[in-house]
Subunit: 93 residues, 2 copies
Amino acid sequence: MEDAIKKIVTTFLQSSRGKENLDSKSFQKMVSSNLGTIMENAQDKEAVDKVMGDLDSNNDGEVDFTEFIILVGALTVACNDFFLEYNEKQEKK
Amino acid sequence: MEDAIKKIVTTFLQSSRGKENLDSKSFQKMVSSNLGTIMENAQDKEAVDKVMGDLDSNNDGEVDFTEFIILVGALTVACNDFFLEYNEKQEKK
């Protein structure tokens, strides 16, 4: 799991090209190239802009690392919920 | 990064042996076998019990998935901070 944590850190660093925050363009690119399967509408600019707006709690027009982790956490919980539902359906068959 | 998210989900499922929560024993084992490098005192029962107490926001004596994700998020932010500090020191040399 430590490799997973490091992967999340390096994904942010690569996407932000070493800067501390992701601007709109780099956030779009990070989502479309890294979250295309887990996130619905990952290729839809408007939908991704909406997600960015929701994450940008300090309204600076950018996503910092802590705001990014909230997205990763929410996706991980959603992935877990999907997994539990899938297992439940399999058991009912 | 999607593999990283899946790894976090499967680590919880394996540690909880398919149950919805981690009890004290399975939380200890999850920490010692998965977070031994990133987390200080990962092998110290008392220290890990303290972390568990801090995470257990609904005080049911167990750690559910959402509480687990808060730990993973905090460790990821700490890992990123460490990385940024390390880079800054390298640049000053």
